[in-house]
């Protein structure tokens, strides 16, 4: 070995993952439809490593994140690969104690939590985290890549630099990441978990396939027959999925391209709450004082705003046309 990063990382365990799949994953086509409350109660435990695809700006699993906050999950470890203020929200709510960083919006919440020792950060990059999920999704313990080496990011990560046995050149290795839980917000899904994701994405398939427990939230539940008519569109197959939550506007306040735009006013409200130190009030208003995503949409957002966000999204080409 030529060099090794000093960062702590979730150790790869491909055989442990296989055993989990053998013993716990449902092979039959059974309905996995449930409420977000049930999904998070059953499949997210304190101390879990949770990974999510996309972020609170764009097709992120916002409704599922709010449910995690509502249920006051603790000591989670998250992968912030291309994260907006999602990490801030989870840290402010006291849910998260460790973050693998690619990129995340950082303000006083995360900085204060880091300095106070309430949250530990580990350095990776967006690409390295997406790639670690790929390794996890391939069932291998590590993968080589041609970046990270030589930088502080490398030293803060769990990567290793070795001499490649084939070329004799230096090459960086990163450990596979198999999260305990994946949260992916999808456009369409059947009750069994066969899922369609439209548009560019970060790593929806890798995130789902690498994770032991997979919770999907879906804008729309479609019939199994519809899935079989267009099998090319299925990105995640049912047997990887543990829970399907029907969550229209489940990406709110972010956008779901082709369906609705981000609520910029809401995003500004959050930004102000962070700067002004009033996130507790924000969380109370948007999470704790309502019992579900549906109730939040009805009582806090309102139909007029939802209609407006749908109307603002004028681009459907490529998604639904």
């Amino acid at each position: 070995m030529l060099a090794a990063g000093a960062g702590v990382f979730k150790p790869p365990d491909p055989d442990g993952f296989r055993r989990h799949v053998r013993d716990h994953k449902e092979r039959r086509l059974v309905s996995k439809l449930m409420s977000e409350r049930e999904a998070v109660e059953r499949f997210v435990e304190d101390g879990d490593y949770v990974s999510y695809d996309c972020n609170l700006w764009n097709r992120g699993p916002a409704a599922l994140m709010r449910e995690i906050i509502r249920q006051r999950k603790r000591d989670l470890w998250i992968a912030a690969k291309f994260t907006a203020h999602d990490a801030t929200l989870l840290v402010a709510a006291g849910c998260v104690s460790r973050i693998d960083v690619g990129w995340m919006e950082v303000g006083r919440v995360i900085q204060e939590a880091q300095v106070a020792g309430r949250v530990q950060l580990f350095e990776w990059s967006n690409g390295a985290l997406a790639y670690r999920h790929l390794a996890g999704a391939l069932g291998v313990p590590f993968l080589p890549l041609r970046y990270l080496g030589g930088t502080g990011t490398f030293h803060g990560s769990g990567a290793k630099l070795i001499e490649d046995p084939f070329t004799g050149q230096a090459v960086c290795l990163v450990p596979a990441l198999n999260p305990d839980v994946a949260l992916v917000h999808v456009n369409q899904c059947d009750e069994f978990g066969n899922a369609r994701v439209f548009g560019a994405g970060i790593a929806p398939v890798e995130t789902a396939m690498a994770s032991r427990k997979v919770i999907l939230s879906a804008e729309e539940i479609v019939a199994g027959d519809e899935i079989r008519r267009h099998p090319q569109q299925t990105r995640i197959p049912y047997y990887a999925v543990d829970a399907v939550v029907h969550a229209p506007f489940g990406g709110y306040p972010g956008s779901v391209p082709g369906l609705y735009r981000a609520d910029v006013q809401h995003l500004m409200e959050f930004a102000a709450a962070q700067v002004q130190g009033t996130i507790e009030a924000y969380l109370d208003k948007w999470v704790f004082s309502v019992s579900s995503n549906q109730e939040m949409l009805e009582q806090r957002v309102g139909q007029a705003k939802l209609d407006e966000l749908r109307a603002q999204e004028t681009i459907r080409e490529g998604y639904y046309e």
């Binding site: 690619g102 041609r146 990011t153 956008s255």
Partner: protein, 288 residues
């Protein structure tokens, strides 16, 4: 006849970067911010056939102008792409050597073009200010053939020693340093663009070298805003001012909400004979 022009430091950085773009090449940009605006401006005015990939897997989009507000969260950012893929896929394309240029923003840069976007302050656990992290910059600066960095000309940004090296330039500057760290050969930083200067890197020493100056700035002005002393090219080129056309396109079409082009105002007067005089510039703003 003299002409007075007012623009922000960031507008000057974006316009200068846009003019560096090479037609028909492939670019890799972060999903928002000054690098994306520079590429959009270049496509609009100078190099319509350049294409770019974005970290979210979007390949060669045609962003509708005027750009929608909050572009990073809007479907306009990936409109009419040739493909919608994912992060691993576009990173693979960069690893394969398809992407000619990476365009990136930096919080701090050192004389070998290594840069920081992670934190500033005395210690990792006690940052004076923590930033978002490298994002995709580490892979982009490693895998693209050439990297263009954008930053403001300030002593606290051009530092002798980075508080943290998020992403690689020429590392310690020694021959083969990048290859020894596992990075692809013949890659590295190519230009650093600020509001008053453009730098390249000396082929032998790999140290940063001043090669272009804004018409109102002197070498001393630039070097005074650097902790380390750069090499100086034997012949310095004079950078253009942002033109009316560039500022119009930037303000009305590329960044109509003004989120990214905000900055320190600079006013210059272009006198008869082409001499450009600095009339006024604001004090450097806080970190942003």
């Amino acid at each position: 006849m003299s002409e007075v022009r007012t623009f922000t430091d960031m507008e000057q950085i974006i316009c200068t970067t846009a003019r560096l773009m090479e037609e028909d090449k492939l670019y890799f940009v972060a999903i928002g911010g000054p690098p994306l605006l520079a590429v959009l401006l270049a496509k609009r005015l100078y190099t319509p056939e350049i294409a770019y990939v974005v970290e979210d897997g979007t390949i060669a989009p045609q962003v509708p102008l005027p750009a929608p507000p909050f572009l990073v969260a809007a479907s306009g950012s990936s409109y009419r792409a040739v493909a919608w893929t994912d992060m691993n896929t576009v990173d693979f394309h960069a690893a394969l050597g398809y992407i000619d240029y990476g365009v990136l923003a930096a919080v701090q840069v050192d004389e070998y073009g290594n840069f920081n976007s992670t934190f500033i302050g005395p210690a990792y656990e006690r940052p004076a200010r923590r930033f978002g992290g490298p994002g995709g910059a580490n892979e982009i600066a490693s895998l693209c053939w050439r990297t263009i960095l954008m930053t403001r000309q300030q002593g606290r940004k051009f530092v002798r020693k980075l508080d943290f090296m998020s992403s690689p330039g020429f590392l310690d500057g020694s021959v083969g340093a990048r290859e020894r760290a596992g990075l692809p050969s013949e890659t590295g930083p190519w230009r650093v663009v600020t509001e008053t200067a453009v730098f390249d890197f000396d082929a032998d020493s790999r140290r940063m070298r001043l090669r272009g100056l804004a018409p109102w700035a002197t070498v001393d002005d630039v070097v005074a805003q650097m902790e380390f002393k750069p090499l100086i090219a034997p012949k310095l080129e004079t950078l253009e001012l942002p033109s009316e056309e560039e500022l119009g396109a930037l303000r009305a079409e590329v960044d109509p909400t003004g989120r990214t082009i905000r900055g320190r105002w600079i006013t210059v007067e272009e006198e008869a004979g082409g001499h450009v005089r600095l009339v006024q510039q604001d004090a450097p703003a806080g970190e942003g």
